[in-house]
Subunit: 210 residues, 2 copies
Amino acid sequence: MTRAFTRKGEATRARIVTGAAAEIRERGVDEVRLEDVLARTGTSKGQLFHYFPEGKEELLLAVAQHEADQVLIDQEPMLSNLTSWSAWLAWRDRLIERYLEQGVKCPLNGLLGQTGRRAPGAQAVVTGLMWRWQNAITEGIRQMQSTGDIAADVDADRAAAALLAGIQGGVLLLLSTGKIDHLEAVLDLTIDSLRSEARATAAQEGNANG
Amino acid sequence: MTRAFTRKGEATRARIVTGAAAEIRERGVDEVRLEDVLARTGTSKGQLFHYFPEGKEELLLAVAQHEADQVLIDQEPMLSNLTSWSAWLAWRDRLIERYLEQGVKCPLNGLLGQTGRRAPGAQAVVTGLMWRWQNAITEGIRQMQSTGDIAADVDADRAAAALLAGIQGGVLLLLSTGKIDHLEAVLDLTIDSLRSEARATAAQEGNANG
DNA sequence: GCAAAAATGGACCCGCAAGTCCAAACTCCG
DNA sequence: CGGAGTTTGGACTTGCGGGTCCATTTTTGC
């Protein structure tokens, strides 16, 4: 299935993907014309359709995949090591920093709901991203439970689902209002809540660990 | 500024707006052609451009306004009367019910971030909606604080911001995964958190109310 | 160094959907 | 009834942008 591309070919292909991604981040999916991508990457139509025979749809899918991966990579190594409260806070800070910097330019926006029908597979990419993201958070919560830092009776899956939703909503509101306040509030209050529940439970059980 | 439309004219205009709204809900903004709206509403191009001289953009703006208002209306009378825990739960139930029914068809999706540049004013409509929505929640929290049901030291604005973000994210995840779990988790955990903080504070102050 | 395969440039095609225009039909009021 | 203003229908124009095609150049493998 993997087509035979030379080294140079792969490089060109990659250049097109990252160029398209940048263009989309800056101007939005529906504002980007193939011409824009060609201009920015210094390529021609012939090349684009050579590397993406299905045309725009295939390119969008590749971009989506690329950007989805990037979202998680940007959170490492924190996201995979939520093993102490300071790690959680570092993760929190990274998220704020990352989205503050990204501002209103969300590459994956516009791939949701029925809007994303334009690139059928793209929807799946987003779903996959959410799934991986939530799993990482769940794992983090479980870790904290194993050390007693979070109460054992917390439903890790459910808590992770809520936190992920909060983050997504925070980013969404950043996109529409330009302010990061919502994201900050969600992260701080949710994490605090996980901590205080631990404290409350520990207190009522009369036996803190440590 | 208000153009002179006869009764019949107003009716036609309204028919076009609601028809367009329905079409968009079903098929997504970028899939809807003016022709589709005309077909559904039994109108002609002449009429559409008669009532919306600026064309599609003006129509989209009208639709956005219409749908934004609907979002809040659908939450009444609960949203404006968050004065007891049972009222909060009723609101929660209404939200779940509403979005479960709406499913993957979000009329305002696609108006966010730079995607929404297609209709410059539409962005403002969404921002306005969020603002009104959050204010209502803040007000509800304040109400509960005034009766002592929520601890006075809770920052109502911040808590409302977090809850709103959670809701938005929950809906977003509903759009991309088709499952309502995230929205449920956010609502339940956030509301629970508001309640337990009240309990905790009351307990530690040694004086519960009622 | 040579043939086969891959990479590149860019002119051209073509369909779609927004927007224009105007003539015909209503309707409102005196 | 008459005519000014409003509403309606729909044919036509137009520009944009995705996709096709092929000739040319470069690279690869032997």
